[in-house]
């Protein structure tokens, strides 16, 4: 499908971009991976496209370690993030498993966390679904194999962002041209507002993401389940960040991906891990708690068993233990 005509703005600075982005019908474009699909599908029809890629220089693209943590430029590509030794493993792993090498070379960190859901009802102009301001969620009684397990009553989309859940688990901060937003405040759950996934305001542009310095001492891992290895969306993913005191877990942040419209933090698992030594049996038991409140639809119940496995493996990986029992074991 061809897209509608639009004005194309090439700003030279964030200020110029922000000014242009405040105008009527303006939409910000970074890598364009998500946006161009939305435009071609007539889901988003911007009158004005503000291309951040025209802002030159390393400031928006670099990964740099500072006193307060690792600063990741909003235009840093997933490919660069995947090979960075400065960022925690969970984040690099998530970036490296997303999409395809071609897409990772273009997709940006800012665009990744600001992307819209991939629900096929949301993406189809045929269905006037609730998230688009329409009457209902067609996934509830429709084809919902890839849909949400939590907070899914009014809308069952899942977050498509690979980076969202590890950043959430790492307690990152999203920095924009207007403010600093703690990651816990950045995403908007369905129950709060069905029409958007982030708190970003018109004209607000992500400039960088800061992973706190404390994360350096943490053990982290990201694991995901997919149907195929090449270019697939996660069925369910888990990000685990563990702080150890000797051999026991001092604190934990555990976040699931692809199970709700936004990253889904499971404090029950975090609490279960606290003060414990991680073993295979214990990791499996801790993972059980994560899905206690799941509300499966007709075709996505399999995600519960699968999610428990993925979470168990992420916990073990973070703890540096073998994830898969070896043959005979």
């Amino acid at each position: 499908m061809a897209m509608k005509s639009f004005a194309y703005v090439l700003p030279g600075s964030i200020d110029e971009a922000a000014k242009a982005a405040k105008e009527k019908g303006a939409v910000i474009k970074a890598g364009g991976i998500d946006l161009l699909d939305l435009m071609k599908g007539n889901i988003t029809q911007p009158e004005r496209l503000v291309n951040l890629l025209s802002i030159t220089g390393p400031a928006l693209r670099a990964i740099s370690s500072k006193d307060d943590g690792v600063h990741i430029g909003a235009l840093c590509t997933l490919a660069d993030l995947a090979v960075s030794e400065q960022v925690p493993p969970a984040l690099a792993q998530a970036a490296g498993q997303a999409a395809t090498p071609q897409i990772r070379n273009v997709a940006t960190v800012g665009g990744n966390i600001a992307q819209r859901p991939r629900c096929w009802y949301f993406r189809s102009s045929t269905f006037p679904c609730a998230r688009k301001g329409g009457d209902m969620c067609y996934a509830q009684k429709g084809e919902n194999k890839y849909h949400a397990l939590f907070d899914n009553v009014d809308c069952a989309v899942v977050s498509a962002s690979s980076l969202a859940s590890p950043l959430y688990a790492l307690g990152a901060t999203v920095v924009t041209n207007m403010r600093r937003i703690a990651i816990d405040e950045f995403f908007v759950p369905t129950s709060k507002d069905i029409t958007k996934e982030t708190v970003l305001a018109p004209g607000e542009i992500i400039t960088e993401i800061v992973v706190p310095a404390a994360a350096k001492a943490m053990k982290t891992a990201y694991r995901e389940a997919v149907e195929k290895e090449s270019n697939d969306w996660a069925l369910v993913s888990a990000s685990v960040v563990l702080e150890f005191d000797g051999a026991t877990v001092k604190s934990a942040r555990v976040v699931l991906g692809s199970v709700a419209a936004v990253p889904y933090r499971v404090t029950a698992v975090e609490d279960a891990l606290k003060g414990q030594r991680v073993t295979a049996a214990f990791a499996a038991k801790a993972a059980e708690a994560a899905f206690a409140k799941a509300r499966p639809l007709d075709d996505n119940g399999y995600k519960i068993a699968l999610g428990k496995t993925i979470l168990k493996r992420a916990i073990l990986a973070a703890a540096g233990l073998p994830e898969i029992a070896s043959a005979g074991g």
């Binding site: 009802y121 189809s124 067609y138 195929k228 290895e229 090449s230 399999y302 898969i324 043959a327 074991g329």
Partner: protein, 742 residues
């Protein structure tokens, strides 16, 4: 008809048969024939053009003054067209013509059904005009799957018609019942397959233009230039001589591009209306919804097996759906094996889905999936090696030799789990296999001009298309063999209906039809060249032979080029005509595939490690093309086995994954090691001993993978695609069954 004896068979088995070859044809290559080019690695003659982007497809055609046409498609799975108003659309800037497929009042029984097409100066203007069409639909309830369409009171796909066609019955139930009673074990299971779309890289599309003299020129992305010509003649009502179809390159067809298609009709009608060239290419979305599909199937089966491994009874209740089309929804089950008393009912079911078209071995991947999995169930029930069981039910020497070769290449006796699923650990490996059958020796309906020029260059012409299988290279190879030249010296031109007739590429018949015609043409042209040389050398033509670029005999010699220099003003031009097939060793191409998989029993992920494909083609003409066909077939089969699924919303009949993002096709990281083993047969039957193998390459892959998953885990997944959720469910079912027993 000259009679002669020829040696047929393969390494390890041979016999002599008598063949009656048509007048004027060369003798078939026997088992001991010493061939220079045929059977070697001949690089694809148009390979460089393709990988450098210089190859021109229909999509690339852009004549001056060309208009773009876009089609308005039905958005719902079932609706009636209440009103249609395109007055405003027609008045928009750039819009030049409107062609209506369906007037108001018509039923639209599937998502994607064509309503009208608009031609405009640019693609964008055509799309804007489509968006401006005012249209009202009355949505109707849908039946999207076989199960849904069979339910009492299910919505009718066509008003006033049953969703089910009357069942076709073969065999006698009473005999099967009796045989089941006598069986040592009875196994049963319902195996299902999904709808698969062709997903050709180049979508359907046509460029049509009327010339000044009123004749019609059509560029089509097609696998049948002459088929499209026939359709265009009928539609345009022009005389045959006034319609010409061109197709230099095709970006895939897999059975979906045998006809003009609605996009072609729109291009021709709009070109006539606007007196401008009009190109109409289908979008990816509607390539999925309307471009054709492999029908889904539900096969409820029961089999009885004797202690010795002989299957004594085989019962199949089959339902297949080609969406809104009636044909092509059958399943090749049973086939290949003897299987004792057999009974089968076949029912075609209408569903609110786009029409099926033939797809790479129609009916076979579905039927073989169900049959080969149930055969494994039989072997498991009596504790027999699945390969042994197959040998008990088919002792054909070619199959047996191929099975042994495939087993050796995959490590069957060392690597297979003797007891399925019994190996410890979370990630388990297993082996499986399945066989294929395909009957295609080619036949009449192909003529090839072979032209030898005074400068020593050789041209070969045929009007049919090369859909990517390598037809050009096959022709170059066969002609090079006959003329004692290298294939790269032969210029092959295909894809223009002004040239000699050739077949549509369906049923794998192009190569075995055109190949022997090419050899006939080359053989006749060679006789004329030798006659010229003989006259010059002063020897009898029958004493001269042409080999390795030299004409020699009776102590005399002359190079190919020297002989060509003797050609007068008119080049040597001979028409090779494909004669009827004659006596053969085998009338079918045999094949089998062995798969090794690794299953993560906690996530349900299946990773295919290795696939060995053993296949005969009668005689393999070009080993590289053979491998390319096998590898492509295995990839498409693996993708069918594990990923591809045409998902229709059950309430609205809308295809939810009509793109290449959520319609999942296996990608580079999902690829196993693929070993293609050419099992060469000297077969006679035609002068090249050729059979077509474009289709069988794709037949047994899914079944081999399914059987390997069973061997690894002891859990049987009976529905395609084998996705993680289904593997986890099958594992849970297998665990429950063990507990139930214990």
């Amino acid at each position: 008809m000259p009679k002669l004896k020829t040696k047929v068979g393969f390494r390890g088995f041979s016999k002599e048969i008598e063949v009656n070859i048509p007048d004027g044809e060369p003798a078939p290559w026997g088992l001991d024939a010493k061939l220079r080019v045929v059977g070697t690695d001949v690089p694809r003659v148009d390979g460089a053009l393709k990988v450098t982007g210089r190859a021109k497809y229909t999509y690339d055609q852009h004549p001056p003054g060309m208009l773009w046409a876009k089609i308005l498609h039905a958005p719902w799975g079932s609706a009636s067209l209440k009103s249609l108003d395109y007055a405003k659309a027609k008045s928009l800037p750039g819009v030049k013509g409107v062609y209506v497929f369906k007037e108001a009042g018509r039923a639209l029984p599937y998502h994607g059904d064509e309503i009208l097409a608009i031609a405009a100066e640019s693609e964008e203007e055509a799309e804007d005009a489509i968006a401006a069409v005012k249209i009202e639909y009355e949505r109707r309830p849908v039946s999207t799957t076989i199960a849904a369409a069979l339910k009492p009171g299910a919505p009718a796909v066509f008003e006033g018609e049953q969703n089910l066609k009357p069942a076709k019955l073969t065999g006698e139930q009473a005999k099967v019942d009796a045989a089941l009673k006598g069986a040592a074990k009875v196994v049963e299971g319902t195996y299902t397959t999904q709808i698969q779309t062709h997903s050709s890289l180049e979508p359907h599309g046509t460029l049509a233009m009327f010339e000044k003299d009123g004749s019609l020129l059509v560029y089509a992305s097609t696998q049948s230039t002459f088929g499209v010509k026939g359709d265009a003649v009928k539609l345009s009502k022009l005389p045959d001589s006034k319609v010409r179809v061109l197709c230099e390159m095709v970006g895939g067809g897999f059975g979906s591009k045998m006809h003009l298609a609605p996009s072609g009709m729109a291009a021709i009608e709009l070109a006539r209306q606007t007196k401008r060239p009009v190109k109409c290419m289908v979008t990816r979305e509607h390539e999925h919804t309307t471009g054709g599909q492999r029908p889904a199937s539900v096969q409820k089966m029961k089999a009885g097996v004797a202690r010795d491994g002989k299957v004594v009874a085989w019962q199949v209740e089959h339902h297949g759906t080609g969406g809104v089309s009636q044909g092509g929804s059958g399943a090749a089950n049973p086939t290949i094996y003897l299987l004792g008393e057999k009974v089968k009912s076949e029912t075609a079911v209408f569903t609110n889905s786009g029409p099926s078209t033939s797809m790479r071995a129609p009916g076979h991947p579905q039927g073989i999936w169900a049959m080969e999995c149930l055969l494994d169930d039989c072997a498991h029930a009596i504790g027999m090696d699945p390969l042994e069981l197959r040998k008990k039910n088919n002792d054909d020497e070619v199959y047996v030799a191929q099975w042994d070769l495939g087993a050796q290449k995959i490590g069957w006796s060392e690597r297979r789990q003797k007891v399925p699923g019994k190996l410890g650990g979370i990630v388990k490996r297993g082996l499986g296999m399945a066989s294929s059958i395909w009957r295609q020796m080619g036949g009449p309906g192909a003529e090839v001009d072979v032209v030898i020029h005074k400068d020593g260059s050789v041209e070969v012409l045929n009007g049919a298309q090369d859909i990517g299988t390598g037809t050009r290279t096959v022709m170059a190879t066969v002609v090079a063999e006959e003329l004692g030249l290298r294939p790269e010296k032969i210029k092959v031109s295909l894809g223009d209906t002004r040239w000699p007739v050739g077949p549509g590429s369906g049923g794998s018949k192009t190569a075995p039809s055109i190949g022997p015609a090419s050899r006939n043409g080359a053989y006749q042209a060679k006789q004329r060249l030798i006659a010229l040389a003989a006259k010059k050398l002063g020897v009898d033509a029958k004493d001269l032979g042409l080999e390795g670029g030299l004409i020699s005999g009776k102590g005399q010699r002359m190079t190919f080029e020297e002989a060509c220099a003797l050609i007068g003003n008119e080049p040597i031009r001979e028409r090779g005509v494909r004669g009827k097939n004659y006596e053969f060793y085998k009338n079918l191409a045999h094949g089998c595939q062995f798969a090794e998989v690794e299953v993560d029993t906690e996530t349900g992920n299946v990773r295919v490690i290795k696939v060995v494909s053993v296949q005969d083609a009668g005689r393999v003409i070009d080993k590289l093309l053979f491998e390319s066909q096998m590898i492509g077939g295995v990839i498409q089969g693996l993708s069918y086995a594990l990923h591809e699924n045409h998902v229709l919303d059950k309430n609205y009949g809308v295809q939810m994954n009509a793109d290449l993002n959520t319609y999942k096709i296996a990608g580079p990281v999902d690829m196993p090691e693929i070993v293609a083993v050419a099992f060469d047969l000297a077969n006679a039957g035609n002068n090249c001993g050729m059979m077509g193998i474009g289709e069988p390459a794709n037949i047994p892959t899914a079944a081999a993978i399914g059987n390997a998953v069973f061997n690894a885990t002891g859990a049987r997944v009976r529905s395609l695609p084998i996705t993680p959720d289904r593997v986890l469910a099958a594992l849970a079912e297998a665990k429950a069954a063990v507990k139930g027993k214990g």
